[in-house]
Symmetry: C2
Subunit: 653 residues, 2 copies
């Protein structure tokens, strides 16, 4: 039986497991990328792992998220990241060089390779026929250290494309159509693979748009074949030598299927405040618009800016509209400038910002409360723009340009009769202005390089192995559905301390009980326990929600049930996650009770799953269980993945 592209990519990198959906597989990783918001922690993890040199074929640290530099911590993070790249052998992409995803695609992407990235939009590299997966920082750190990435084998979802996009409709509308049909959970535990004759007219950068926002469907990743469009892309980037054809076999099959006739699509828009709230632009038309934001990894290509420039050229943004343009990379800004598009944008009233993520991740460009903002970015979750009561819409560059001119949501197909604007047929340069001068290659191996740590950057604390006996108080008891936002908040007050665990830990559980951190710290050496309800740790994948309480002495979380990623993170950092055998026992234990767990090391080593917890305050016994795999049991015994790897016990270690 023939293989599809996803299967071929997995098969070529399979280190353990088999390709049966739902089974754990281990994959060899060829490339890694990190960005600055997650990268400082990844570098501290590499330091804690005692890594000598990156063992991937290429690993790159991009600085694209936090570029505003409103105080000294930001520039100090940059100096630290640069020194860590020298120390561990990563490429360093300077602030201003651009957003990780398009830059990585342009300069490093190679068909057939795997890519692990500490950013949820890493799957964008699937546009080149790569298997690119977004992961938590420690998993990317491990990949950089040469360890495999573990995941459950996803279902492969074949989406057949036919036809050709009409004028004024572009790649963004394809992924918005997927979101309209399937919603933000439609891709969970799936790899989306696009195929069919419709691909012939979608450039690699068009495919980037679609693969990038596959993350909004919840997909594990998105893949495209490496075909002539990919070859053409690499040729324009002067890297045709990196081209490797990678096509599905003619008789390939898929676990799930769908089909889109591109010629039937029309301009679409996601209403506030979810990428899944998709309607036609026609339906949303007429609402007033105060801001239009162009850029981000969701519409990062030269054409995505050039088409806006062509539409607004010789015209002026509506007086009420702030037209914010965020070039996705220095290279693309160079090309835009060379072809006159920068001049057209500036002349039309654009606020041209430095290359980077900028408004997409709420680093500036926050709109007024309740005032509509149209954006070509991938996400519009509430508050992501930096404004609490925001009203953010997601759309294509064509739809964004139309709104910039009219000051209201406007179907771009109306521009010819409204403003006499013909659909622009772009002539893009045949070759990119390749400029790698802001990409610093790793210097020769240099164990002597000192990490440059500003006052706000502290090393990752060391975590001791699991003791055989825990006798510790319940420092906090919480209810159901506690999210990682409640365990460790994000936001402008807390985020600057993401490289400073002792300081960060002060914010742990502050939204629930601001005295928790003090109580926990008081008995930090002997440790403490947290008791939770159902779905403990739902929400984002942030590792800080484990590392911070672990720093304060958290050894055990005893809950009714756990959210999947947080549960993995607990194991990664050596915290024992136990579920009540009888959910009713949750109601019997109270904050302040002393719990005793004995014979833990034997229990973990022997492979048993049951652990008895004794409440000495109330003289009760609770039957509990863990669900750890053999690998995870070894990690928890060692004190977490870092001491486990350092101890040389890991598969590839």
């Amino acid at each position: 039986m023939g293989h599809n592209v996803a299967q071929k990519l997995i098969a070529a990198h399979l280190l353990a497991g088999d390709m049966t959906a739902g089974r754990e597989i281990a994959l060899r990783i060829d490339q890694a990328l990190t960005q600055d918001a997650t990268g400082t922690l990844v570098m501290l993890e590499l330091e804690a792992l005692g890594l000598d040199r990156a063992r991937t074929e290429v690993s790159v640290q991009y600085v694209d998220h936090n570029l505003l530099q409103t105080d000294s911590r930001n520039a100090e993070d940059h100096a630290f990241l640069r020194s860590a790249c020298h120390r561990f052998g990563l490429w360093y992409s300077k602030p201003g060089n651009g957003v990780s995803h398009p830059t990585h695609m342009q300069r490093f992407g190679i068909p057939g390779k795997t890519l692990a990235g500490s950013d949820s939009h890493t799957p964008a590299a699937g546009s080149l026929g790569m298997l690119a997966i977004g992961l938590g920082g420690i998993e990317v750190a491990m990949a950089i250290a040469g360890e495999p990435v573990y995941l459950r084998m996803p279902h492969i979802w074949g989406v057949r494309l036919t036809g050709e996009l009409p004028a004024w409709v572009s790649a963004k509308d394809v992924i918005l159509e997927m979101l309209r049909r399937h919603g933000v959970k439609g891709g969970v535990d799936r790899i989306i693979e696009y195929h069919g004759p419709g691909l012939a007219h979608l450039t690699a950068m068009d495919r980037h748009v679609i693969a990038n926002m596959g993350a909004e469907l919840g997909a594990t990743t998105t893949v495209f074949p490496a075909d002539d469009q990919v070859r053409e892309f690499l040729r324009a980037e002067r890297r045709e030598h990196d081209f490797v054809e990678l096509l599905a076999d003619p008789d390939a099959t898929y676990d799930v299927t769908d089909e889109i006739d591109l010629s039937s699509l029309e301009p679409l828009i996601a209403l506030p405040s979810s990428p899944g709230n998709v309607v036609t632009v026609r339906e949303a038309a007429g609402r007033p618009v105060d801001q239009v934001v162009i850029g981000s990894s969701a519409n990062p290509g030269l054409r995505d800016f050039a088409v806006v420039a062509a539409i607004v050229s010789g015209r002026q943004a509506h007086p009420r509209v702030s037209l914010d343009v965020n070039p996705s990379s220095r290279q693309i800004l160079q090309d835009l400038t060379k072809m006159g598009a920068t001049f057209a944008l500036i002349s039309a009233g654009a606020r041209l910002h430095q290359s980077g993520c900028m408004g997409c991740i709420g680093m500036g460009q926050a709109p007024a409360n309740g005032h509509n903002s149209l954006r070509t970015v991938p996400r519009n979750f509430p508050g992501r723009s930096g404004t609490r009561e925001d009203s953010v819409f997601l759309c294509s560059p064509e739809s964004a340009a139309a709104a910039a001119l009219t000051g209201q949501i406007t179907d771009p197909r109306d521009l010819p009769h409204l403003l006499g604007i013909d659909y622009p047929r772009l002539e893009l340069p045949a070759e990119s202005s390749v400029n790698t001068a802001m990409l610093e290659p790793p210097p020769a191996p240099a164990e002597q390089v000192e990490l440059v740590k500003g006052a706000n950057i502290s090393s990752l604390p060391g975590f001791p192995p699991l003791p055989d006996r825990v006798e510790a108080p319940v420092a906090l008891k919480v209810g159901d559905d506690v999210s990682t936002d409640e365990i460790l908040p994000a936001g402008a007050h807390v985020l600057p301390y993401r490289s400073n665990i002792p300081k960060l830990a002060e914010f742990t559980f502050a939204q629930i009980d601001e005295n928790y951190a003090g109580r926990a710290h008081a008995c930090r050496d002997s440790g403490h326990i947290v008791v939770g309800g159902a779905n403990y740790g739902q929400g984002s994948s942030r590792e800080h929600a484990v590392i911070a309480p672990r720093y304060l002495g958290l050894r055990v979380v005893l809950a009714v049930s756990f959210a999947r990623i947080h549960w993995q993170n607990l194991a990664n950092f050596g915290v024992l996650a136990l579920e009540f055998g009888d959910a009713g026992d949750y109601h019997r234990v109270e904050q302040g009770d002393i719990l005793v767990l004995e014979g833990l090391r034997d229990a973990m080593a022997s492979g048993g799953t049951e652990i008895t917890v004794r409440n000495t305050t109330r003289d009760q016994l609770y039957s509990t269980r863990h669900r750890l795999s053999e690998r995870q049991r070894a990690m928890v015994l060692a004190g977490g993945v870092i001491p486990w790897i350092r101890g040389g016990s890991a598969a590839g270690g």
Copy 2:
């Protein structure tokens, strides 16, 4: 006897007083400018004044300071300012249109006119032969309302320029030479007037550099003649019809004199952390540099960016250096783009930011603690960059470009032999890309226009007239040299509330006593008194340091002595400033004492200066005096300048 340019400007606008140095004069104001950081309060003051339409020839509200938009308040300020411009008949310069000073010069400056601006670098317009003065917000609001500006007649300081600047030396080095010679207080109570044959080779934009940073000498303002260079500037801006020749009479004299031979100057640099710490670049050479910032109103001209572009063209910024470029206006960015300079800057690794003040006023681009930052901006006071332990140097664009390439402080005259770079002979376009589309003219009179106030914008509170009797507690007693920073702090936490007096008031005196605001608010209706030592209210001119405590009920400040500007501000907002007749009495009164002042209205109206204060808690009498002019007494009686103007009592009212 002949007149100099400054005397001609003053004589043509003199409404009261005579031109004897030290005497109060009243000047008619032709033009006004505000920026967003001070403008929101100016607009609230116009609202409180009940202004119908601006009475100046032209008034412009620029949005250039706060452009990062890290939360919703920023965009809401912009919407408010735009609506206020519609309401009161001001021009509105959209975010992204540029920095007020160069933009005003390019689009509105007219030789022979007066300009009042709520920004300390307003004197830059002196480059066109204008009399341009930086003032507090309420004084600019009054000027917009048609009232005169009052000041003490300054001494006129004639600085004769001879010779011609050598290669690699530019206008910034001229003003740095002035600062090297005279320090940051050298210009206090003076108008600097440049004259002599050296002017022939200084363009109007070169003169802008020199006039702008006259503020760093503490000068009241700086003036240049309106000569052929000014005519040429206006011609290139397509406004030659606005040219009026304004030259000193051949026999003009000056109160103070100095002379600079331009041909003798070399590249200069101000060391951290004062514009007065000037040495030659040669002396400072070799120190490592992590950041180079180009832009701001101190080096705003096309040539100031183009010369950097020419120097770095085809080369690359040093790997350690962040090269941050802040175009001063959209128009200049257009010209830079048209002439290829934008491409050269981007190719060399520049981070190209939106047009505006940006890094100059610490809105982003904060350097790492202790890492050297070279900037073409006007000021390097400690912390202004946004970094507490900053290390900021001020220099010319040529010196900045040299450091960007070498990664260390470098005399640009060494570039020929270090890097083979010849001194660039620039060919600038003969005409600017005039583009006024981001400058919204005031609409036809429209009293009906509603002010768009976000949740964070509250109207200016109304302040009642001076009561005849005050019986109130001493809510706070402070020591000597209390600064306006201690009365009302600046900074990212407090600044966002500058349009929200009730919220802002919560921060009053928080650095000295965080319970003051609560105590004062508790007796807000009956009022309270603050007792201060010597030099009370030193530091910045911020009016908020009076408005906020006044909102909390401050009626009287009783101090040993007052700093001049804060003392004026107290009168402007109806707070009675009294000095102890016997400084020793300061030690007899304590916080919490009840003080009684009687017969205040008669005392003020009759012109007496003595007021007796009775301490009922300690049964003591203090002899005190005020130093208010007749105009100021009337204002204080009315409750401040706003009710005074509204009552129709003002000269021009």
